[in-house]
């Protein structure tokens, strides 16, 4: 069995070094601006930081993938083009892109640059993927987290590029690249600004009885009794009401993490070339733990041994985990 590439998050230079040391085959990261979909305060790289980080990673044989996976608004494309030019100069190993204009710019300006299609492009069928391969020479697609393993196996046989799937971390419920819920509430866009449920507009309000209400912008995302652990107010993980349902309920999904550790052999068998760990916003300790555990698991599976991954559960959000869409169609 060929060993898949382990693609790991690097939200900061320190996290990048941690992931590299823990055995990442590749790390992905972005600049400190709207050119990537994790444009959060305190995250991401300055140009000198990325330059040093690329040197560090390359010295240890790890690839650096630059996330360029937001959609430039009209009239503001210069920021993206500058970032791409810089990435080329620094020698990153691939660009992760979503926007057709961005893909076209790289494909025509730097025809030797390697392009990965971001999950933000929402290419969920062979024809879409073939379109991006044919038009822009895309070499790898990151699949939306909406397909079952058998569906991935069938798809892999029909596309002329490598396949990367998420295996662990945050489990967004909307199709990536097709969600403007955050913009509807906050005025900041996931696609245009790289922002999702921004912390600057989060409020926690505790009443006299000890109950906690979490709010994003003007809207209540959830309410917690004193005996409940409050979660971060991500719109698609909140509780809401509707006449068809008794009481407040998780209308989209519970606060839960994706963990495909037990499906790893199936995913590798399905023809997946790269396994992606989500979490550029996570701590170094988290990155170290998750990356080293998956490094060992992938190596075990590749050499025919049984992988041990039970302790990863402790790292998942709210200690709850799911195999999401990957296990069964009943998730839909």
């Amino acid at each position: 069995m060929t060993s898949p590439e382990l693609v790991c998050p690097a939200g900061t230079p320190a996290a990048l070094r941690t992931a590299v040391d823990a055995g990442a085959d590749a790390v992905y990261c972005g600049f400190q601006n709207a050119t990537n979909a994790r444009n959060f305060p305190g995250l991401n790289f300055t140009v000198p930081e990325l330059e040093r980080s690329v040197a560090y990673a390359h010295a240890k044989g790890t690839k650096v993938l630059l996330a360029m996976n937001t959609y430039p608004p009209a009239g503001k494309q210069a920021l993206w083009k500058d970032a791409i030019d810089t990435g080329i100069r620094l020698g990153v190993d691939a660009f992760i892109v979503a926007d057709i204009g961005v893909a076209h710019y790289i494909a025509t300006t730097y025809p030797d640059a390697r392009l990965h299609l971001s999950v933000q492009a929402a290419a969920s069928n062979p024809e879409s993927i073939r379109y991006y391969c044919q038009e822009f020479g895309v070499k790898r697609v990151v699949l939306p987290r909406i397909l079952t393993v058998p569906e991935i196996r069938n798809l892999a046989a029909e596309v002329p590029c490598e396949i990367e799937t998420f295996i662990f971390g945050n489990h967004g419920l909307m199709v990536e690249g097709r969600c403007s819920l955050t913009n509807y509430i906050t005025g900041l866009s996931t696609n245009l600004d790289g922002v999702c449920s921004p912390a600057a507009q989060v409020e926690y309000k505790r009443d006299n009885a000890g109950n906690l209400t979490t709010q994003l912008g003007e809207f209540t995302i959830d309410c917690f009794g004193c005996d409940e652990t409050a979660g971060y107010p991500t719109i698609c993980k909140g509780r809401y009401t509707t006449p068809a349902h008794d009481g407040g309920y998780y209308a989209f999904e519970e606060p839960i993490s994706l963990n495909l550790s037990s499906l790893l052999p199936d995913l590798i068998g399905a023809g997946v070339h790269a396994l992606k760990i989500e979490g550029r916003q996570r701590s170094r300790a988290y990155v170290k733990k998750v990356v080293s555990s998956f490094r060992k698991a992938v190596d075990d599976i590749s050499s025919g041994r049984t992988a041990q991954l039970a302790d990863l559960l402790a790292l998942t959000e709210g200690q709850k985990e799911t195999q999401g869409a990957f296990k069964s169609k009943t998730w839909r």
Binding site: L181, I185, G187, F219, R239
Partner: protein, 304 residues
Amino acid sequence: MAVKIDMTKLTLGPILFHWPAQQKIDFYARIADEAAIDTVYLGEVICSKRSPFFDKHYADVTERLERGGKTVVFSTLAEVMLKRERNMMAGFCEEEDHLIEVNDTAGLFHLNGRPHMIGPLMNVYNEDTMRYLASKGATRFCLPPELPGPSVAVLCEHAKELGVSIEVQVFGRTSLALSARCYHARAHGRIKDNCQFVCEEDPDGMPLDTLTGQRFLAINGIQTLSHTYLNLLPELDALKSMGVDHFRLVPHTQDMVAVAQIYRDTLDVKTSADEAESKLASLDIPAPFANGFWHGLAGHQRVQ
């Protein structure tokens, strides 16, 4: 002074919700006979499971609309995953008598350069993307609703140069997200494969409110929409002067013939925006109006 001919067209987007076939037939008959609409988009955009209910009626409805002087465009599915959906998309793109509005890149693959339109669920946010798609046969772009006015203005400038046309949604609930999961089925304790078409119960979307009682969103199967109704009546003049030439109404169960007339009269400057606004408000729209996205603010907001 040259006479300026008003070339603005009013369009009716595809019905996003699951209305019974007879309701759709009656709706389009009335649109054909009475509405001040130039172009009607037909097709199931949201859920492939709903398609069989209306497939056999498209030919008749199309003919009826065309006899009423409307141009008919077919809109594709927005999410293509299953074999059935891939086949639907491929079949749609073989249509030769009508233009196709593409809502998933799979359509671009099949059309392979033939003339087509780009729907609002495609991500065309900038001039490079527009230029590329125009070079591959796109002739009209219905822009994503979250795009703010200044960006639309830039795209209009490039559209003139490229000889393509720009469409903007000006009325109705705003599409905010797509998922693979059916939230209608979930609210009823079901899954998508066994949904029993509960989405039919909510012809303008299923209300989703916050735990503190705020009106928040509207669910339509795998789609999440705004609770608010987009209303760009006060902005129509600005849109026209930037070069937007198609103005889209999203169909709801409210009186769409009346809605169309209000927008047509405002475009033709036969009525003031204020007067139009009060007429629209009198139509029992079940939610507040919003225009925040256009002004670069949170989408639920209303700038007066």
